[in-house]
């Protein structure tokens, strides 16, 4: 598991390094993810240690997110006027995205089947 963890941290460090060296707007961990993905494609399978290490970390995600999420209750008066925009953007945005994607994929898939 720790060997897998080393791969993950190593990829992130390399990603952060590339981000700074090239001045990319992409976050370092995302570059690290792309590097690991390319590595897996070249390697052809997922090593056991990496499989376990990444699985454990992904399972922990809900706990890692609790502390930042709790901040919602402590935003204070400064954010009070932003709530209507926030709620509207998230609810209406999500419903319209589902409808848009549903219609688009149905259209593309139907056309794909016919050709």
């Amino acid at each position: 598991m720790l060997a897998g963890f080393l791969t993950l941290v190593g990829c992130q460090l390399l990603g952060e390094f590339i981000q700074r060296a090239l001045g990319l707007p992409l976050p370092g961990p995302v570059i690290g993810m792309l590097l690991l993905f390319i590595g897996l494609c070249i390697h052809g399978n997922v090593p056991k240690d990496l499989e376990i290490g990444s699985q454990r970390l992904i399972e922990l995600l809900p706990m890692l997110l609790m502390a930042p999420a709790a901040g919602v209750f402590f935003l204070g008066a400064g954010f009070a006027d932003q709530w209507p925009a926030f709620i509207a953007a998230v609810t209406l945005g999500t419903v319209s995205t589902l409808v848009f994607c549903g219609l688009l994929i149905r259209f593309l898939h139907g056309r794909n089947k016919r050709t």
Binding site: L8, C11, Q12, P25, L26, P27, G28, P29, V30, G32, M33, L34, L36, V46, L50, E51, S54, Q55, L57, I58, L61, M63, L64, L65, M66, A67, P68, A69, A70, G71, V72, F73, F74, L75, F79, D81, Q82, A85, F86, I87, A88, A89, V90, T91, L92, G93, T94, V95, T97, L98, V99, F100, C101, G102, L103, L104, I105, R106, H109, N112
Partner: protein, 231 residues
């Protein structure tokens, strides 16, 4: 005594305790979306801090090292992406077009609606990543200079809205193919959507998790460049 309450040991104990409580509530409720561990756990932490009259920012400073793990967790998402990649065969065209256009639509629709409702700059920066998985959303939002907390809240609320509306919406649109159903849910509602898709079927779950990975990656690449041009 009181210095114990302001240290990392108290912070991690509170966090682990809240997590156990959240998992208990979540499984007991039959995995109700509104009681998703991140939502119920965050509520429990907030309640405890208010009752004990502790400062949230001091608590967050003490637990920051845990949040650091979101970096390697983002890298770890390469593994499920690699595993689900074979699903692209036969359907690569429709899926890749939908994910590209759909991811842009997800960000743009939220930004336009928020802007119409008079959202400020900080709120807008924190909404662009609402349809992507939280670890990526946090890293992107931090780089953009948005408010991390708002980004997390928008991602979770998006997930909850997505899974509570999709069945009705897709019945109306008459989309019942598990592959299309799962893909759209994963694209829009990330990991929360994916766990709901697995409840429908293994096929829906696999396509949902492919969509989750592709949307996260594409949005993480697209949003920072777009922000550089527009803001």
């Amino acid at each position: 005594m009181s210095e114990l309450m302001h240290g990392p040991l108290f912070a991690i104990t509170l966090t682990l305790l809240a997590y156990q409580g959240a998992m208990f509530l979540y499984t007991r409720s039959g995995r109700a979306a509104m009681l998703h561990p991140t939502i119920s756990g965050a509520t429990l932490i907030a309640l405890a801090l208010m009752l004990l009259q502790q400062d949230y920012h001091a608590y967050y400073q003490n637990i920051n090292w845990l949040t650091f793990l979101l970096g390697p967790a983002t890298v770890a998402l390469a593994v499920p992406l690699y595993r689900q990649l074979h699903l692209l065969r036969n359907m690569a065209g429709p899926l890749l077009i939908t994910v590209t256009v759909g991811a842009i639509f997800a960000s743009a629709s939220a930004l336009i609606i928020a802007w119409l409702f008079g959202a400020n700059h900080g709120t807008l920066l924190s909404l662009a990543t609402k349809s992507i998985t939280t670890p990526i959303a946090i890293t992107v939002t931090q780089d953009l200079g948005g408010i991390t907390t708002i980004a997390v809240a928008s991602v979770i609320l998006t997930g909850v809205v997505g899974i509570t509306t999709i069945t009705w919406l897709f019945n109306k649109l008459d989309i019942q193919d598990d592959r299309l159903w799962g893909f759209c849910l994963g694209l829009t509602a990330h990991a929360i959507g994916t766990s709901r898709a697995f409840e429908r079927s293994a096929v829906a779950g696999a396509f949902s998790s492919l969509a989750l990975c592709l949307t996260g990656t594409f949005t993480a690449i697209f949003v920072p460049f777009a922000a550089r041009w527009f803001m």
